[in-house]
């Protein structure tokens, strides 16, 4: 069974068509990147898949559960790390993890075990008792992803996970995301070409709410007739408007 099957997903805001009849599927354990310029419909797609926003038309099945009809079951199997860091600034790193573990129903020893596991995986031990609001952007992003992972989601949605980070912090976060590949299905939005190319199994390029191409980075370069992924992206996105 595919982890995600999207069928004709559409979102309109008044006259604006944010996502236009999107159809695609994501295999279990795959990392799919949604790539596009601002306003391409990436974040709107993620919000619909996370049950944060209702589709105007179409549906998506996450391990067979509809984002329209089975929102409770869908929410139980997903986690979302929004574009903003979305941490509680007045709480320490440990307390932030306790909060998310608590709202997912983890208690006592199980909760402590989960937190220790995530702290080790994300390398958060040195900031564990520091308030989240006082951390650098890179640490906040790590915490944000750790918060998303604590519920052991089957599908993880990462919306612009490295936005605004310096080169080193970005590289460290890439390593963390790579370490998750295969264990959890990941849908990641980005507008960094190199990020999509380095991390993804497949890449979906979107423009004006529509899916232009969905394939591996190598195949996309081949389709566009160039060795540079950035050039391939530009050719594909511009090709539509020409």
């Amino acid at each position: 069974m595919d982890a995600i099957t999207i069928k004709g997903l559409t979102k309109r805001y008044g006259d604006i068509l944010a996502v236009d009849g999107l159809s695609l599927s994501v295999a279990e354990g795959e990392l799919l990147s949604l790539l596009g310029v601002n306003g391409a419909g990436k974040t709107t797609t993620i919000k619909m898949l996370c049950c944060l926003s209702s589709p105007t038309e179409g549906d998506a099945l996450l391990f067979g559960k509809s984002i329209r009809a089975d929102t409770g079951e869908v929410k139980a199997m997903i986690a979302h790390s929004p574009q903003e860091t979305a941490v509680a600034p007045g709480l320490t790193v440990r307390e932030n993890l306790e909060l998310i573990a608590g709202v997912h129903g983890f208690r006592g020893a199980l909760r402590s075990e989960k937190i220790e596991e995530l702290v080790a995986l994300m390398g958060l031990i040195e900031v564990i008792d520091r308030r989240a609001g006082k951390l650098s952007g890179g640490w906040q992003r790590r915490l944000s992803i750790a918060m998303a992972l604590i519920s052991e989601p089957k599908i993880l949605f990462l919306d612009e996970p490295t936005l605004g980070l310096d080169v080193i912090a970005r590289s460290e976060l890439w390593d963390i995301i790579r370490s998750l590949k295969g264990r959890v299905t990941i849908v990641l939005t980005t507008h960094y070409m190199e990020e999509a190319e380095a991390l993804s199994d497949r890449i979906a390029i979107m423009r004006d709410g529509r899916l232009l191409v969905l394939d591996t980075a190598e195949k996309i370069k081949e389709i566009a007739g160039t060795d540079s992924f950035e050039e391939a992206f530009i050719r594909i996105v511009k090709g539509v408007s020409e």
């Binding site: 049950c51 929410k75 573990a101």
Partner: protein
């Protein structure tokens, strides 16, 4: 029980904000001390301790609107709420999770005011316990207003609307600082159509042990608390769906 995780977090955020302690507990206390000192030199019937203390406790609660609205507006701004919407928390969990932590803080504020008033000369009576009990629906009213404003305003707007406008409206229209009968006319009518003066009169009657006088005012307060809660739930759910 999942709601308690959210409530616990909100409690920590509130008590770790020094402004909350300053305005929540310190400011009403300073007002009480200052006006009692003025009263000692220039006696004004309105500022006698048994009339002043209930008024100050109600005025102090207007800051609870600021605290609850700020918390929600900040969580909306930082996308923490967006993250929490994708968890198994239900709408009721959110409402209770943001309301319950502020309730004990409201009661604590009231107790601190009455303890200070006892030191300043208020006679001890069972009416004090009654006044603290009657304070709960007033606290719910102000917290619900916070949920409402926090759901529709940004963090910055909350500071202006709840921090400045609402606290001033509560002050002017409650009869704490001046007798509304002295102004009369439309001002008096408007004040009596709103819950603030009823909250103060109810607290004064409760402190005096006059239950029959307090009950009609309680109906006003409960009515407005129910209305504010219904609107808060409506707007909270609306922004949840809009996300």
């Amino acid at each position: 029980m999942k709601m308690l995780a959210l409530a616990k977090r909100n409690t920590k955020e509130i008590i770790r904000d020094p402004l909350t302690i300053l305005f929540g507990l310190g400011f009403p206390l300073v007002l009480l001390l200052l006006l009692t000192a003025i009263q000692a030199n220039i006696p004004v019937p309105l500022f006698e301790i048994q009339k002043l203390t209930p008024g100050i406790t109600v005025f102090g609660l207007s800051f609870m609107t600021l605290f609850s609205a700020s918390l929600i507006a900040k969580d909306r701004g930082s996308a923490l709420l967006e993250r929490l919407y994708t968890t198994p928390l239900t709408p009721l969990d959110f409402i209770l999770g943001y309301t319950l932590p502020i309730l004990p803080f409201s009661v604590a504020q009231c107790i601190v005011c009455y303890l200070a008033a006892l030191v300043l000369g208020l006679d001890f009576s069972l009416g004090i316990f009654l006044a603290i009990l009657f304070l709960i629906p007033i606290a719910l009213l102000f917290i619900a207003l916070g949920l409402l404003f926090g759901s529709i305003l940004t963090d910055k707007q909350v500071g202006g609307i709840c921090g400045a406008l609402l606290t001033n409206l509560t002050a002017w229209l409650s009869g704490v600082w001046f007798d509304l009968e002295l102004v009369g006319g439309a001002f008096r009518s408007v004040a009596h159509a709103l819950p603030f003066v009823h909250a103060v009169e109810m607290e004064r009657a409760a402190l005096a042990g006059e239950l029959s006088v307090a009950l009609p005012h309680l109906c006003w307060v409960l009515g407005y608390a129910a209305l504010a809660t219904a609107l808060a739930v409506l707007f909270f759910l609306r922004q949840m769906r809009k996300n």
